[in-house]
Point group: C2
Chain length 165, copies 2
């Protein structure tokens, strides 16, 4: 599972989505799809290109969106329960010296609930494949597929991104 | 002025900002700074790289943000008075196979007021330099520096961008 954590977080997790879904449902820890996240606050963006260690999992252009409670968290450095951060990853085709936005690859979600997700720093992690609101890429594998990397950010509430003014 | 329209919209306009400011003020057509635009709806993003014909003016990563009336416009195809679109252009440094967001280069603004800006399709155009809310890059040169290109988009209300779901 080490390789998954380093280079193929979502893409590899997809391979085990069947099992993951069952496990997630039976444990009751299913992270909800973040309805309306496109209307949330745009936090920041980044493009991950070929050759980057995370290109297999996160290659493309991504935007982070935060709900109101997550914005409180970015400002306070501590995220309250109910905070949700959406990681919107799109293809990033390059043509004529410009990078544009293509199809959605995956919508990553971090959902704060200190009790429900206590084993992963109080955050539930999920990835919704493409434009699907139901096809899950992480399921019960959040501890290894997501938290393995996010745990390094403990001092920042397990969150990598920072709000760009 | 033809070269300005094709390759150096904001950067060249900056050179004439002094004159522009006076003219804009005296005509009363000063486009207001779009306070709070970072909390507006994120419309779409794009990266313009070296070699692109607009790199001189718009090189970097840009995000478009729309206020409520501009969102009505994107959906209806016709922008009501009061619609404001912000074009947030940041440096886009490339390192370790990733493109991140750097300093703000210019904040472009389109502000709809059919009467006030009748000569430029009902849109007022301005560019605020860097993080400044007062240093203007367009001033009285909107017709040549901005509308020259935007006029090609007449069928889409003079707007280039489209809302990405």
């Amino acid at each position: 599972m080490k390789w998954v954590m380093k280079t193929g977080i979502f893409s590899v997790a997809i391979l085990t989505a069947g099992t993951g879904l069952v496990a997630a449902s039976s444990s009751g820890n299913t992270v909800p799809y973040p309805d309306g996240y496109r209307q949330w606050q745009h936090v920041k963006s980044m493009v991950i290109q070929a050759g980057h260690p995370l290109h297999g999992a996160f290659g493309g252009i991504h935007h982070l969106y935060a709900n109101g409670k997550a914005m409180q968290g970015y400002k306070a450095g501590k995220f309250p329960d109910g905070a949700v951060i959406a990681f919107d990853l799109l293809e990033a085709p390059v043509a004529d010296n410009a990078i544009t936005e293509g199809e959605r690859k995956v919508l990553g979600v971090m959902h704060k609930d200190s009790k429900k997700y206590a084993v992963t720093g109080g955050w539930g992690f999920e990835g919704f494949v493409g434009d699907s609101k139901t096809e899950r890429a992480v399921g019960a594998n959040a501890a290894t597929a997501c938290f393995g990397c996010h745990t390094a950010q403990k001092q920042k509430g397990y969150v990598f991104s920072a709000y760009r003014e």
